[in-house]
């Protein structure tokens, strides 16, 4: 994993901009030019992919968001009208709040649960490998299936939860998990957490196992308690991994459409409406491609800002 990016500075501007170490040797400009050509050659497939499969569609989307284009009809240039309409709509604020809440809570829970899993699996125990595989299982299941399966668990009339609760007389009324405005978002987040936690535990566990045992022994000799060991030995060593995992997971969580689409479609009464779903229904339900692109793009800078803030804060801590 990018954890890979292993070293904290791999993520840092300094490293990205710093000339590679091979440049230490003085070289002629001809060699340099040759090196540049080789580099572009090696990067050609990657660049083609980025330009044609990401940048070009992305630019199209930006251009599209400035038009009133519907599916099947040519669009008219309307400048920023789509964005202005969107910002004026009260649905926008609600969706923004939901999106932030959904992402933040899901990430926090995945983090807590993933760290717990990793710590538990890092303990000495027979057949730990077996447990590790079992706990990893949700990551291997396609999101579409995860969401469908959970909808079947939440089903008010035929689902596992209500059947279980009623069979064991834990409740007499059926609970409408996905219809109750107080529960719906929680249910969606639970599914996201179930599906995404193994990624955290996997990377955290790798980090834990890489910490030399001598560090703990030394800390113990100094009289550090288990809690102190955790905060002064474990956490600092895991910071980079925390950072990378959270960043990737934030991207994956915030842009995911399928959980909401399959579980709640944004309901009840817009309680679970988030940007990817709003964009999808606008572009394909209402067939307003221009507006749909605007919805997606409005949410894009939010994501970029979120990630910059996140990575900055964590890096600053790491530097302390």
């Amino acid at each position: 994993m990018a954890l890979s990016a292993g070293q904290p500075d791999a993520l840092r501007e300094e490293l990205l901009v710093r000339a590679p170490a091979t440049a230490r040797r003085p070289r002629h400009s001809a060699t340099l030019r040759q090196e540049a050509w080789l580099a572009y050659g090696l990067l050609t497939p990657t660049l083609l992919v980025i330009v044609f499969l990401v940048a070009y569609p992305f630019a199209s989307a930006i251009y599209l968001s400035l038009q009133d284009k519907m599916v099947g009809a040519p669009g008219r240039f309307v400048a920023l009208d789509n964005y202005l309409d969107l910002l004026r709509d009260e649905v926008f604020l609600r969706t923004a709040w939901n999106s932030v809440l959904y992402t933040a809570v899901a990430i926090a829970l995945k983090f807590a649960l993933g760290l717990t899993m990793a710590l538990v699996l890092d303990q000495e125990r027979r057949v730990n490998n077996f447990f590790r595989t079992l706990l990893f299982v949700p990551w291997a299941v396609p999101v579409v299936i995860v969401a469908l399966n959970w909808r079947w668990i939440f089903d008010d009339l035929s689902g596992l939860l209500n059947n279980f609760l009623i069979t064991f007389h834990l409740t007499s009324d059926i609970i409408s998990w996905l219809s109750d405005p107080r529960l719906a978002m929680g249910c969606v987040i639970a599914v996201v957490v179930w599906s995404g936690t193994p990624f955290y535990s996997m990377t955290f566990l790798a980090g834990l196992q890489a910490i030399p045992k001598e560090l703990y022994e030394a800390a113990e000799i100094d009289g550090a308690s288990v809690v102190q060991q955790f905060f002064f030995v474990t956490v600092p060593r895991l910071r980079t991994i925390f950072l990378t995992t959270v960043m990737l997971s934030t991207i994956w969580t915030a842009t995911n459409l399928q959980f909401v689409l399959i579980l709640t479609r944004g309901g009840p009464a817009s309680r679970t409406e988030i940007f990817p779903h709003l964009a999808y229904t606008t572009a394909l339900g209402a067939r307003r491609l221009g507006m749909g692109a605007a919805v997606s793009l409005v949410f894009f800078p939010l994501l970029v800002v979120l990630i910059i803030v996140l990575t900055r804060r964590m890096l600053r801590q790491a530097d302390e």
């Binding site: 599916v71 059926i174 229904t281």
Partner: protein
């Protein structure tokens, strides 16, 4: 990451802009020069037999009447939920299927944009069959006097009702909504059995169910001019209040209906957890092939009456053919082939009551006449109105349906506890915005 400033994003976007030499939807044009072939998108028909028959007919037609080899036929199965996304993408790329089944307003949506082939001749041919066709189905396909689609079938939305439960409680099928509530309270035994499996989720069926009830109270969405939105009316307030009372006071609708998808009411009825549901006869067709016992206990009735009588909904699926196809005659030929009464009747009957034949004459067959369940069907098919009533299934009406404006309104009342009038006012505003936008364009 640390170094990812806005200017980098801009730089990147700039680089991408250079790459984007023009609007991307134009590039699909090269696709028009394609080899001779027939592209048909099949939307499943509910029974495997009907699907099989239809597939056979496509290949039969291609071989015998269009001179196409098997390899020149592209037959794709597209499940209902995916159809809209796929169609949108394919049209944008200039590469739509040649023939596809289109739902209601899709005909007028794509027709108004000039994408669909004029099929008036085909429809006129059908009209010349003895007894003709159910003209109620024409509302969906007519655009400026031309038929841009061929109505495939008329789909009444009867109330599926549990006869055994009515009998047990010694009551008749309710004539009015007031009676309906009283009967419901008698026969239900929550949480195992709720009386009314009304769709209340953010899906198309909810708009259908809600509007049908509002019509009985004299309400409607838009006037027949397809311009004047009349959602915010006293009649609609009364109708919405009835739904609110059924949900909150009488508790005859399960709370879970708020998060149902289009299959929610089907599933509730098929698993014997709802006594009444308003749905096309797809439920009946399912029971016909999967649960004969429940089928025997099921009656199909018109919707109960409100203060303004009873109104029944129909919806219409149509075949459409896209102009992009360089071989329009093959596409038209396929549709005509499907609609030849002999071919057509086989498929319709194999769906076990899912589709009501658009040809009136075929409705006279024993299949439809001998079953008491279908007693009300002919009247419903004759007099039924589309969900966009009093307007027609225009592109604007389609957007109202697809964006769930009316389900959101009813959830405002049932979930957010808004006053009916306030929710309808908000809804009226949204629908007005949609109609205004479409009428301007």
């Amino acid at each position: 990451m640390h170094g990812m400033h806005r200017r980098d994003v801009l730089k990147l976007a700039g680089a991408a802009g250079v790459a984007a030499t023009g609007p991307w939807w134009r590039v699909g044009r090269s696709q028009a020069q394609r080899a001779k072939k027939l592209v048909f998108w099949h939307l499943p028909n509910f029974t495997p037999l009907a699907d099989q028959l239809q597939k056979e007919q496509v290949y039969e037609f291609a071989a015998k009447h269009a001179g196409l080899k098997e390899s020149e036929v592209e037959y794709a199965v597209v499940a209902g939920e995916q159809a809209n996304a796929k169609l949108a993408a394919s049209i944008e790329a200039g590469n739509p299927p040649d023939v596809i089944r289109l739902y209601e307003s899709n005909v007028q949506f794509y027709g108004a944009q000039g994408h669909l082939i004029d099929l008036t001749d085909q429809v006129n041919k059908m009209r010349r069959e003895p007894k003709g066709i159910f003209e109620s189905s024409m509302a969906a396909v007519l655009y400026k006097g031309r038929a841009l689609g061929v109505p495939l079938a008329v789909n009444p939305w009867p109330v599926h009702a549990r006869l055994d439960l009515l009998e047990q409680a010694k009551v008749e099928y309710p004539k009015t909504w007031d009676e309906f509530i009283e009967v419901s309270k008698k026969i239900q035994s929550p949480p195992r059995l709720f009386a009314f499996g009304m769709c209340l989720g953010l899906v198309e069926d909810t708009t259908d169910n809600v509007m049908n009830l509002l019509w009985c109270y004299g309400g409607k969405m838009v006037e027949s001019d397809n311009k004047t939105v009349v959602m915010n009316s006293a009649a609609n307030v009364a109708g919405v209040k009835t739904i609110e009372a059924m949900f909150k006071t009488h508790k005859i609708i399960p709370q879970g209906a708020i998060s149902w998808d289009n299959s929610g009411n089907n599933k509730a009825y098929q698993s014997r957890q709802a006594a009444f549901v308003m749905n096309p006869s797809s439920i009946y067709a399912y029971l016909d092939s999967n649960d004969k016992d429940l089928q025997k206990k099921t009656g199909l009735f018109p919707v109960p009456a409100g203060p303004k009588g009873t109104v029944n909904q129909i919806d219409t699926w149509s075949y459409g053919a896209f102009k992009k196809n360089p071989y329009p005659d093959i596409a038209k030929g396929l549709i005509e082939y499907f609609m030849q009464p002999a071919n057509y009747d086989r498929i319709i009957q194999s769906t076990g009551g899912r589709w009501v034949p658009v040809y009136k004459r075929l409705f006279d067959s024993p299949f439809w006449r001998e079953k008491p369940e279908f007693k009300h069907f002919i009247n419903m098919a004759e007099t039924g109105v589309p969900v966009s009533y009093a307007g027609s299934p225009t592109a604007a009406a389609g957007e109202v349906l697809n964006t769930h404006v009316i389900p959101k309104m009813i959830q405002r009342v049932l979930v957010d506890n808004w006053e009916a009038a306030k929710a309808l006012e908000e809804c009226d505003k949204r629908i007005n915005e949609i109609y205004a936008r479409h009428n301007k364009a």
